[in-house]
Symmetry: C2
Subunit: 273 residues, 2 copies
Amino acid sequence: MLNTKPDHATLAKLSAAEVRAAIRRGDWDRHTAGLAAGKLQCNLAILPEAHALDFLRFCQRNPKPCPVVGVSDTGDPILPTLGRDIDIRSDVPRYRVFRDGEMTEEVTDIADLWRDDLVTVALGCSFTFENALMRAGIPVRHVELDRTVPMFNSDIELVPAGPFHGKMVVTMRPIPEDSVEDAWRISARFPQAHGAPLGRGDPAGFGIADLDAPDYGEAVPVHPGEVPVYWACGVTPQNVLRAARLPFCITHAPGHMLIADVAEDAATTVLQP
Amino acid sequence: MLNTKPDHATLAKLSAAEVRAAIRRGDWDRHTAGLAAGKLQCNLAILPEAHALDFLRFCQRNPKPCPVVGVSDTGDPILPTLGRDIDIRSDVPRYRVFRDGEMTEEVTDIADLWRDDLVTVALGCSFTFENALMRAGIPVRHVELDRTVPMFNSDIELVPAGPFHGKMVVTMRPIPEDSVEDAWRISARFPQAHGAPLGRGDPAGFGIADLDAPDYGEAVPVHPGEVPVYWACGVTPQNVLRAARLPFCITHAPGHMLIADVAEDAATTVLQP
């Protein structure tokens, strides 16, 4: 048997556990969009226990950008509430390592960096509600165009906790005028994935100068008859973590998520035995 | 002016802030059911920071009995995300103080007991979804009969975290057969208040021997054409805290809740500026 690595189409047919196994073997180090359809994908913050209580308080106070879906025991790389045999040291395609607020490495495995004082916090991500929008026939422009969602530094102040503070990052998706109400209702069903939009319409209302110049990701056109709709974004906790200049923390690389065994539309994000 | 204390009917016309002020003055030390209609009422756990991270992990892993709606800074008795000028040392009608797992005092103010290492965790309570059921015309038997809801020690194992573990306490409400689906849908809207039921029907399915012999609260009759429906109960975290035998912790006295300024049907439990 040739040791060929699977392509995206092959991987997209596999279960969440099988995709994680491929990632763990080193057979997949690319983004996870479209993989393990129907399963919750997670943003990650891995940080020393000394900062974990403040970080959880921060997330509790800012639930739209920072919806907590799982928290590990201190020093334990296994996440039993999110899936079977999830080892956070190896089961994510790409990680970013930060020291004193600076990114020092992007790696595909963190076994060598693991420490007994680390706590993993998993946060919901926008894939969940985007999938639900698309299932309902509502177009998601950046997916259609195979671009990264446009993200903007808004002027919305976050509620601080300990060293964590800053302003919210928001995403923008153009939605056809007659689908805005449905998009609102559908995404509101997923508080574990940013929930309902923050608002719609004029970007100036969020302190955004130019929708064609996103701070992260790529611009997408807003066509006639469409309305720009804004959601809280999972880049928010990443920025806040970086700005807090913790001596050490690890996140996933953007788009390279942890795939859980929990269904993305489950009533809670805790795996039922 | 005579210094007469207000009765329940008088208090029931006041805002949440006015009710808290009456409680703070010592003018009300009884239960809070029916007060400040439409506002979130909260169960309380006040515990040393040394145990707060584990307790938050426990709540995250058991969101149905332990829905976190607010967390204070360490040593800070003020809870700005739940309301304006909430001082947790005085704004709850009755508190229970536990030392090494034993209740040592029931008091109406904890200013003398406050410590710089205490963290307040506020948890949603069943008043929220009961109010929504009643607004929809679904009868709530124990309210009709002016009894305490019947509560049972179930055989549902909780997901442990640190010293916190045990089995879930559940409540039972008899619901007319043709309203069960509505009751499910309505309570599911309030994940911050135990959410959808855990199940319905045979109490043996939850390890409950006799619906007429609740472990806490008072029995209520299940009439012909009604189905017993079971929800997760906020006594669960209280029992778990007590069983963990922390050197020191404080809870509210049952039924004597913190009343927040947050609307009980708000999208998040964080007060918007």
